[in-house]
């Protein structure tokens, strides 16, 4: 088991990443809190040795995405929608960047991870494939389609859709 210092350091270092991934997958704050507890408890109890900061970061991303998927797969959750869920999610988005974030959240779930990992975390398609356990060509396809959908929603002005050398 890891020490308290290690846990606190990981929370300070990766809490924002976990929070962002929760934001693109989950629709209410209670679920976000659940995911925080699940992910960091897993870290504390895990015996994985990280070779680098990048390795540790990738571990947190993968574990968070899997935890979110597990939560959403829950039988009860998949058949019920809390009445205030959408309102809560919309209210949580910062006003300054509402347009971009709403466009990302409006994408089908399978596109959101690749968009976040590519456009924000700057991972390449092979790296995304490794993190998500998907074929590289699948990642390319998801990126191309998500780019088209985002273009339709946001238009081309002011956005660099191609990330040179990454995809």
């Amino acid at each position: 088991m890891r020490s308290e210092q290690e846990a606190n350091r990981a929370i300070e270092r990766h809490a924002d990443t976990v929070r962002r991934l929760c934001m693109i997958h989950l629709k209410n704050y209670a679920d976000t809190e659940d995911i925080f507890q699940t992910v960091f408890l897993k870290y504390v109890l895990s015996t994985v040795t990280f070779e680098s900061d990048a390795h540790e970061r990738a571990w947190f991303i993968r574990v968070t995405i899997n935890a979110c998927k597990d939560l959403l797969r829950n039988f009860f959750r998949s058949r019920t929608v809390p009445i205030d869920e959408l309102a809560e999610q919309a209210a949580a988005l910062p006003d300054d960047h509402r347009e971009v974030l709403e466009a990302v959240l409006s994408l089908p779930a399978k596109y959101r991870d690749v968009v976040y990992l590519h456009y924000y975390e700057n991972y390449t398609a092979p790296e995304i494939g490794k993190i998500l356990g998907k074929n590289v060509n699948t990642v390319y396809t998801l990126l191309t389609r998500s780019r088209q959908l985002l273009k339709e929603k946001l238009g081309g002005d002011g956005y660099e859709w191609e990330v040179s050398g990454s995809v």
Partner: protein, 265 residues
């Protein structure tokens, strides 16, 4: 780098309250980040004691209820008593309707086999049969020769007053064959002998016949070899093999399937 995406996601932060609650949760879940102590031995003692108790119970049950010898009694009621290593009757099985009736009239389970035999031999059904000059055949079968020999001596002592009682040792293999045909041991031997004079005879028919009827049929055949296969018929004339049949020291009459009849009493 897409600046707008970067700015948009950069604006999302984990709230300090959320971090604090997560830290508190981890503290609580890990019991203050203290690794779990191994359960001390004294806490395991009751569990081990329960385990040993169950194990001892199971072992005792096996030991008590495993039959080490069988006493097969045939007259017409055909019954077999399973005897454990402590000389107690742990099973009583009837091989025909008369046997059912006999076991219904006596209580032999968990009694010492000598007591059980006394009860059976003194029951109305058996005394009635013996008074009609029926033949009583008692075979002792067991893998433990010492116990089988001892049981045979006791059986002989129990039947000492009966002129038509024949006691002998038999082999477990023959007993198995008998059970495969649904017969008690005495009736099985009788069935084998009867087959020589009537190959079409079935085990069911033999099962319902009295030992006296069988012996009379064998005697009527007049074949001395066949007669040798039935207790008390070694001289081919009479059924007087008793009292008590042969002793263990003299060797079993039918032991090992050799159909060797020795002088009884």
């Amino acid at each position: 780098m897409n600046g707008k995406f970067q700015e948009a996601f950069d604006s999302i932060h984990a709230e300090e309250a959320l971090k604090a609650r997560t830290k508190a949760f981890l503290e609580q879940k890990t019991n203050g980040y203290r690794p779990k102590k191994a359960l001390p031995y004294y806490r395991l003692a009751p569990v081990m004691a329960c385990f040993l108790f169950v194990l001892a119970g199971f072992w005792g049950y096996q030991l008590y209820f495993t039959q080490t010898s069988v006493i097969s009694i045939d007259i017409n009621p055909s019954v077999e008593l399973g005897v454990n290593r402590f000389d107690r009757v742990v099973s009583a099985k009837a091989y025909n309707d008369d046997g059912e009736e006999l076991l219904g009239s006596v209580e032999v389970n968990f009694k010492e086999y000598t007591q059980a035999l006394d009860e059976i031999l003194n029951s109305d059904i058996i005394t009635d049969c013996l008074s009609r000059d029926e033949i009583l055949s008692i075979a002792v079968v067991g893998s433990d020769e010492t116990q089988s020999g001892r049981i045979l001596s006791d059986v002989q002592a129990c039947t000492a007053g009966q002129k038509n009682a024949f006691c002998y040792l038999a082999s477990p293999e023959e007993m198995e064959e008998a059970h495969e045909l649904g017969l008690s041991y005495g009736k099985y031997r009788a069935y084998l002998a009867m087959q020589e004079i009537d190959p079409d005879i079935t085990p069911e028919e033999v099962q319902q016949m009295t030992m006296r009827e069988i012996r009379d049929l064998l005697a009527a055949s007049g074949d001395p070899d066949i007669l040798q296969q039935f207790p008390g018929m070694q001289d081919g004339t009479s059924g007087q093999g008793g009292p008590g049949g042969q002793g263990p020291g003299q060797g079993p009459g039918w032991h090992g399937g050799k159909r060797k009849q020795q002088s009884a009493g």
